[in-house]
Symmetry: C3
């Protein structure tokens, strides 16, 4: 009984870690938000978290990391991504479990690789595994992609499209949070904001400010209105703001806030760049912009005397 | 005389190292298998191994590494690859020697880079050099590619193609070994299996099991029958099984065998993914899937208490 | 007043560092060469150097690095690149400043990352930032690229094009130097050669020999005459020769000169390869070939006993 409670706690923390929170209540609210939008994605998230956590347990991973959900969040995301991009079926389910097990190996590999510089793995295992497993379907006749995948083509020049209104901004703001889990639903975004608030009010403020900044930068540069409204330019900005601007890795002060703002603007540009770079392959950028920008900005921080690391355990 | 014998020994070990064996008899059998299929590829392998080994000798590389063939195997592979993908001629020969010399620099660079984490360079110098030197021909009017190179195009959805029979499996099993050296010939595959047996029976069993697993996973996911028969899904699986499942880097036990099986299945998916990802460039995946998967799984292993390193010198 | 003189000195050294020189007179001559060809690019270079240096100053970077121009040269290059590839306007200017600020973060990140192996960041921050910021314009309706950007398409086989004459070689030789700053102008190339001579005669000789070797290798392999004349195959060869063959990182002797010649030939192949690899995205290779080849050859050098590091402070 106690063992099962601990397992549930691990899974919920795993879901919360997607937004860098080690808090099972936040995880429960994130999960509720996903189920509100779609039961399929909710079950996929649970299956993925369980599969990657069990793999880590069987291989003998550190119990402290297991309990904190460190081996769960990439499994959750990869399973939702495969449920989103691949047609359902028994083989797709097996494929999800294999992919979730893979994220565990990649997570451990990155933890070992990156500890040389003391930077976190973030959602890199999810990004790598999803790109590989979705791309591979081009060679596998029994796995079919859905219409959610971008169409493969050469990148073309953009033109101004649509008019940004107050509704675009209001919806984009919460969709930016919801898209962290591939959910295009304003109410789901509200659930996520409440989940963050339960875990840390700074996280909630940083996420909303990040979503707004991302949206504003994209608007200023002339991004298409439907993309802004859908939160496409928001979710990497949200995660970047959470990582750098809510006191998790850098101590909160004026310098780190300015640094976070620069990082969030960069994440918007990097999202646009990677989504264009992956267009010939018909692949989405996922959270790769967040991972790259936060890695670079954390790697850079020890060389700047104005920036201080966050006190451990905060 | 003794010096020449040492040189021959070095070259044969270099060829054996392609399958991670430090054994000159295995190298001789691999070379016999290549000559059985095509004298051109046999001579290319010898030229490449010699060119990269001599470059390393002239720059003053560690004699122990030179004798073990560590600076030879990438030269062998790159020369066979250029003989396979480029039309013959005097300029192509010079290009092969330049490419083989390059693998020596990249090998030394990776040895230095990767010793931070104590992981091996594997065939990464071959993969990097071959991709660069074949891609470059698109800008060079005097170097022409053969029809063996994949056609450049956008990746498309696969459909089920052909029926897998007992003959598919029997041929695919040995072609999987033969394709490690770009040889599509069942008898060459048998030569390679015997060469492995001479060096270590565990290596022979791991390679055959790896080839079979690769083939079975590809079949289950609906890969095209001609590709399965040709060994295309096998050679990365063979190398992954050799590296992780024959006691070279990880001690052999139930946990490492299960871990190897997960790695082999992953290598099949990564092969499908990389071959789709390189399609817009008209480039083959080569052994990049093996290199990436083994790097990730070896990097991850110290974090899993169930996995133990192989005793040194085994 | 003194503070302003120091600022000007920093900016000029920043421009000189593009060619690996820590010398403000060389920087002044480089700047004169750029202004001789185009005032727009001259002002862009000044804006970029200032923006990246000021960002580094505000974040609290090491004053010694600031004064040596280490945080300036990537800003200079990225601003010239954006002036070259994007249509002018107020938004493009803001975009340049954001990009230059980004190079500062990436520079600090690479300094931290690469000190594990004691290799320099070179122009990697410029390459990464330019590719990302130009690619991103495909999603931004208010930023438009110029006709200088390569057309996106699948790579195709080259055919021999044009006849190489003495004029091709004479112009290619100096255009190779000028193209380091995106300038296709022989007189600008002469300015740069004089700038190098002022800083170090070895640098001047290495740059000219590098340009000639790059041109000769490209010619031998059948590259198109207009590309050879324009210096396209020269600028990466020039920078590679400066880094490895003028006594900056490796002590000058027969072994390091042979090693540099191998590196320069490799840089030409890598330039051809990367320019083909980036064709589906319609992106230029920039100085990525120089960065990759010098990183690999410097990483490899400690394993070769014949090569010695340059004495510090030389």
């Amino acid at each position: 009984m106690q063992r099962m409670a601990r397992g549930v706690d691990s899974v919920l923390r795993g879901i919360a870690q997607v937004m860098l929170q080690n808090n099972s209540y936040a995880g429960a609210l994130f999960l509720a938000g996903i189920f509100y939008n779609s039961a399929t994605f909710g079950w996929a998230a649970l299956l993925g978290t369980a599969a990657s956590t069990v793999t880590a347990h069987m291989l003998g991973a550190e119990p402290v990391d297991l309990r904190a959900g460190l081996f769960g969040f990439n499994g959750a995301l990869v399973a939702i991504a495969l449920a989103y991009f691949l047609q359902p079926g028994a083989l797709t389910c097996c494929y999800m479990v294999l992919a979730a097990a893979c994220t565990t190996a990649i997570m451990a590999a990155l933890l070992n690789l990156l500890r040389t510089w003391k930077i976190p793995a973030l959602t890199a295992p999810f990004v790598i595994t999803t790109l590989l497993f979705v791309l591979a379907c081009a060679r596998f006749g029994r796995l079919h992609s859905t219409a959610m995948l971008p169409t493969a083509g050469l990148p073309q020049a953009a033109s101004l499209e649509g008019v940004v209104s107050a509704a675009t901004i209001a919806q984009g703001l919460f969709n930016g949070l919801a898209q962290v889990f591939f959910q295009g639903n304003v109410v789901t975004g509200v659930f996520f904001a409440v989940g963050l608030l339960v875990s840390s009010w700074r996280a909630c403020v940083a996420a909303l400010l990040g979503s707004f900044t991302g949206l504003a930068v994209a608007w200023g540069m002339g991004a298409a209105e439907p993309a802004i409204r859908s939160g496409a330019f928001g979710f990497n900005a949200v995660l970047t703001a959470l990582a750098l601007g809510s006191g998790i890795f850098l101590a909160l002060d004026a310098a780190s806030l300015a640094y976070s703002a620069l990082a969030v603007a960069t994440a918007v540009v990097v999202f646009a760049a990677l989504s264009a770079a992956l267009q010939p392959l018909g692949m989405p950028a996922l959270t790769a912009p967040f991972v790259l920008v936060v890695w670079l900005f954390l790697l850079a921080s020890p060389l700047f005397r104005r920036l201080r690391s966050a006190p451990a355990g905060s």
